[in-house]
């Protein structure tokens, strides 16, 4: 499943880069995040309870940040599993200055399996994009008030 999007953030590129790499910002903005623990350099273990409406599940997994080219680019690799399914994905985040702010482009390729992938296939892409959108909207708000 390929997902992508763009966001405009009202902060200069260095501030956006710092925020994206700040575990506290990730903790505040990741929907349903229960726990985020740094277990190695640029490697985190996370537990999330996510879903839509009544359909929710708890997933735990690992997130790794690689190919860091501050302040413009990094890649993410993640994998997780829970009662309703498992997922494995990788993505990239690219930043470029735009006026007084920053243009953020994200894209990812995710494989989802298990019950949620079978039964929820119709909504997986849309809901996934929505949750990722919530994450970036939250960052937008944090950065907007910061400047």
């Amino acid at each position: 499943m390929k997902l992508d999007g763009t966001n405009t953030l009202a902060a200069p590129i260095e501030t956006v880069w710092t925020t994206l790499n700040d575990p506290e910002a990730l903790r505040r903005c990741t929907p349903g995040l229960q726990e985020l623990k740094e277990v190695g350099p640029d490697t985190y273990q996370a537990t999330l309870t996510i879903g839509i409406a009544a359909v929710k599940g708890t997933y735990s997994g690992t997130l790794r940040i690689t190919d860091k080219q501050p302040p413009r680019h990094y890649r993410i690799a993640l994998e997780g599993s829970g009662g309703a399914g498992f997922m494995k994905g990788e993505g990239s985040v690219d930043l470029e200055p735009q006026g007084n702010g920053t243009l953020l482009r994200w894209s990812g390729d995710v494989q989802v399996g298990g019950l949620i992938a079978g039964v929820g296939q119709r909504m997986l892409g849309g809901v996934g994009k929505m949750l990722i959108g919530q994450f970036f909207k939250c960052l937008e708000q944090r950065l907007g008030s910061g400047t």
Binding site: I52, V55, K56, G83, Q121, M123, L124, M130
Partner: protein
């Protein structure tokens, strides 16, 4: 599979049901027909801690024709509405859409209100409510309120209902005499969720379109009201060319997701095709009514 453990209540009145929801908040789910909720629970994709079964609440099963509006109580089964003479006379668009909701076994238990509260992105009844500018009556701890269709559907499986609210009635505006309608959808097998579905209402006067309503399902997180296409049609004389223009306007207005059942491009294309065919059928019915 079996559901995760839950507490079960079967209130006898709406007040008792609302009290239970107020107590348990978003830990509770209302059980009416159960045709969406129970499979989710059995697969453990949803694990509500509390179930408030409203099937024993009196006074919620009715279809009443008020002037210009069909009032349908929250426990009215889809099959009863589908076979109702009042629905056939006052709101045949609803009847036609009901016939395509799942399978008859589902419609025997599933409720009209339940389908609307569940807000599946490919549901028929949510799109019909949207096409007709219907509304729901909701009761909660704060009292009763009326929610218009345009304010009800938020995103996938999500309405603006508070978790402590229960729908008590759904209101579908009746089709004025002389109006044409059409419901069309496409699915891979009969009874499958629609890949795209369209509900259309058309009225003519003096040889031109005086009213056009177009709502779609399956092409986004909520039902889509194709207002740009509606504006394009109003005041114009019907023609094949006009239907084609409306189809293009609809294609420009929708942003469907793709999945293993159908690509985004397919859904977008087919939405336009269905609009064209539905407008054609609606026009035939206008002429038959005249």
């Amino acid at each position: 599979m079996k559901p995760a453990a839950f507490e079960y209540f079967a209130p006898r009145t709406v007040e008792q049901a609302v009290d239970l929801l107020a107590q348990h908040g978003d830990q509770a789910k209302v059980l009416a027909g159960g045709q969406s909720l129970v499979p989710l629970m059995n697969m453990r994709l949803a694990r509500p801690a509390v179930i408030v079964d409203i099937n024993r609440v009196d006074g919620l099963e009715y279809i009443v024709a008020a002037p210009a509006v069909l009032r349908i109580g929250a426990l009215t089964r889809q099959r009863a509405a589908e076979r109702s003479r009042l629905v056939a006379e006052r709101c045949p668009l609803l009847r036609d859409a009901l016939r395509l909701v799942g399978h008859v076994q589902i419609r025997n238990r599933g409720t009209v209100a339940g389908s609307i509260a569940h807000a599946d992105p490919a549901a028929e009844l949510t799109a019909v409510l949207t096409a007709l500018d219907g509304e729901v009556v909701a009761r909660g701890p704060g009292g009763t309120r009326v929610i218009a269709a345009s304010d009800l559907f938020v995103t996938y499986l999500t309405t603006s209902l508070d978790p402590r609210e229960i729908i008590t009635e759904v209101r579908f505006p009746a089709l004025p005499p002389g109006t044409g309608w059409s419901w069309m959808e496409i699915a891979r097998r009969h009874g499958d969720f629609a890949l795209a579905g369209v509900g259309v209402v058309l009225a003519l006067g003096g040889g031109v379109i005086t009213e056009a309503r177009i709502a779609l399902t399956g092409v986004g997180p909520t039902p889509v009201r194709a207002t740009s296409a509606e504006r394009l049609l109003t005041g114009r004389a019907p023609s094949e060319g006009l239907w084609a223009d409306a189809a293009e306007a609809v294609r420009a207005a929708v942003d469907p997701d793709g999945d293993i059942h159908a690509s985004a491009e397919y859904r977008r294309h087919v939405a336009g095709v269905l609009v064209q065919r539905a407008l054609c059928e609606a026009l035939t019915r206008v002429r038959e009514a005249a």
